[in-house]
Symmetry: C2
Subunit: 387 residues, 2 copies
């Protein structure tokens, strides 16, 4: 039986935290960034490419995997790790976010949510219990509770009601999770006995609701806590304020995960506010659109000024793309519509993100995080070199 | 100054030949297969992936590179090798095949061919001399003469007239090539002083025309000779017969290149008929369409029978795809439209092709090629396991 999930706080520097968690599939150093592997594949990356970027954990999307190829099929293959050939840690979301953003004709009630597949229009139901069951079959190392995702802006009343429903759902998720973990639900077909479960703090931009939600989540008790419902269109300063105030009311000895964020700046600023884990499609999606992150600012590889540039994307980067190819060649591949543009650009952007996390961890361990953060901000001020 | 092109015949087994050629960018063992890098990239492959498959030489398409990003831009980057980050040998075609198959509104006369770009409709001219100049700027290790490409079937008269024009064009190509090589045309901006030039034997399926074409090419004198105008729809037995009879009238001490072929069977059968070099889009294009070559026959990864197959694509294959992933996962990636399906499948198909060439070379060196060929035919009889 795999070791249970555990988290250790190694050092702090201000509110920034250096830590690591142990899971059934290995150790993850925090602060950590999790590349998004929507359909069992981080787009344009092979698993060994991911390892090369320094990724220690990836995220899988329950909604997508449930619909195709199906969590039952994945369980018969031995779980998601074996199915996709990624032996390292995996976190799965609950499926809720995609149901609320991608699926058709949603009907939500206290029991759960009914929706139509974006693939074929077929009718499905997702409940707190079934979201737990599906993730148990996928066998991720960290499963997330099902919560209701509100669009921004939402009124205080809407946000309060939604948060309260999410609390009730979280409690049901924990009951189902405990039943599976304690062996009472062999019928579910869980594939990872070492799976952990994280609660999610909702409450929009209303700090008293955030506090209530955090209190309720702590009362239920999870292996870690996420902050959901941010990075959905609110002003950046408001997001940072909510992150600060919410992180403060979460347990110091457990990991804190800011869902769906963000830009490189967001990573640094939210580590400074006590966040340990991040996920975002930005580095991978932008890469496929020719938008590249570098130590000298953002680059749009389509820009004509790169047409005859023999230099690398980022002279400070040691990835295969930067070691091997010029901006001129990368621009040509992008304009010619070559698939290799996507693979080379994604390798670079993920390396930039994972390398930023490595530098963050190093700075915290040396207690120079504040200096690092200021220097990073100065380079960030050169963002969008190409308009 | 790079060493000039040279070819050495190392061993023969029946009509099959083991050899190697030296070029400004290194040695290539023959029989060799050249993956097709249409626009300066073998589709879905990074250069290190290509090296991993065992590719020693790749093909670049002059038509595509001339139109985008332009041969002048590539020359300013130091040539095609430096531009694309591939330090090993490259062969370029003349551009003629794409002009005749892809470009719009062609007008052909003795001087050359006028055509419209398939990208933007702009008007261009390609002549024997300019095809040589463009390839000199690209700096490939082997350049091809411009020839006229006929559709199959063509009458004897059409074929004869076309072949005769191709002979006149070949002579002009050689004059231009020699002028550049001997330093008389510095204005062209050649980037590879070690470039070699191959002639092309045309004549369709009329062996007396093939013989005339081969005689004319030998009289002009090239570093190697290609057989063009095959694999265009003629019956396979007719193609093999033309290959046998044409190889026989080509110089024994120079390389022979069968353009645009073929299936794994074609490679083995045409090596048996004295061919040293091949190129074909089949392994890369089929891979992107989910059609995979294995030691047990062809596979269509979309087929439902692979949905729960935990085995590798090909148990006899040592490529990353086969070492890491199951057919079930590869089917999922393909059906989900993941780019990674293209990269993993292409890596496998090219490995299969390059490994077949390695086994062919080994068999010739051991003088067991006929046994190898018979065993290969038996596995070929299991082709198309999935309909």
């Amino acid at each position: 039986m795999p070791a249970a999930f555990s988290f250790a706080l190694i050092a702090t520097d201000g509110d920034a935290r250096l830590g690591e968690f142990r899971s059934a599939h290995g150790v993850v150093q925090t602060p950590a960034f999790m590349p998004v592997g929507t359909q069992g594949s981080v787009k344009a990356m092979r698993q060994r490419d991911l390892e090369e970027t320094g990724a220690q954990i990836i995220l899988g999307n329950t909604y997508h995997l449930y619909l195709r190829p199906g969590d039952q099929l994945i369980a018969r293959r031995g779980g998601l790790h074996r199915f996709i050939g990624w032996p390292h840690p995996i976190l799965t979301d609950s499926g809720g976010y995609q149901v609320f953003s991608l699926a058709g004709r949603r009907k939500i009630d206290e029991q759960g949510v009914e929706f139509r597949s974006h693939l074929d229009g077929s009718l499905h139901r997702l409940s707190p219990e079934s979201a737990v069951d599906i993730q148990a079959r996928l066998g991720s190392d960290i499963a997330m509770v099902l919560d209701e995702c509100l669009a921004y802006p939402a009124s205080r009343d809407e946000t309060a009601h939604s948060m309260e429903r999410s609390v009730r759902w979280a409690a049901r998720c924990r009951v189902q999770f405990a039943a599976i973990r304690d062996g009472g639900r062999a019928d579910v077909g869980a594939t990872n006995p070492g799976q952990a479960q994280f609660g999610i703090v909702q409450g929009g931009v209303f700090q008293d609701l955030r506090d209530q939600s955090a209190d309720a989540a702590r009362a239920i008790g999870f292996e870690g806590y996420a902050i959901g419902g941010l990075s959905v269109g609110e002003p950046i300063d408001l997001m940072y304020a909510v992150v600060s105030d919410t992180a403060r009311v979460l347990p110091a000895d457990q990991p804190r995960y800011l869902m769906g964020a963000g830009t490189p700046d967001d990573l640094v600023e939210c580590v400074a506010r006590g966040i340990d884990m991040f996920d975002c499609v930005l580095p991978t999606r932008n890469a496929r659109n020719g938008q590249l992150f570098t130590s000298e600012g953002r680059i749009n590889i389509k820009n004509a000024r790169h047409a005859e540039d023999d230099g690398p994307l980022d002279p400070a980067c040691d990835c295969y793309t930067c070691r091997t190819h010029s901006r001129a060649y990368l621009r040509h591949l992008y304009l010619a519509g070559e698939m290799t543009a996507g693979t080379l650009n994604t390798l670079h952007n993920l390396t930039f993100y994972l390398d930023t996390m490595r530098r963050i961890r190093e700075a915290i361990s040396l207690r120079t995080f504040d200096k690092f953060r200021q220097a990073f901000r100065r380079s960030a001020s050169r963002l969008s070199l190409d308009s």
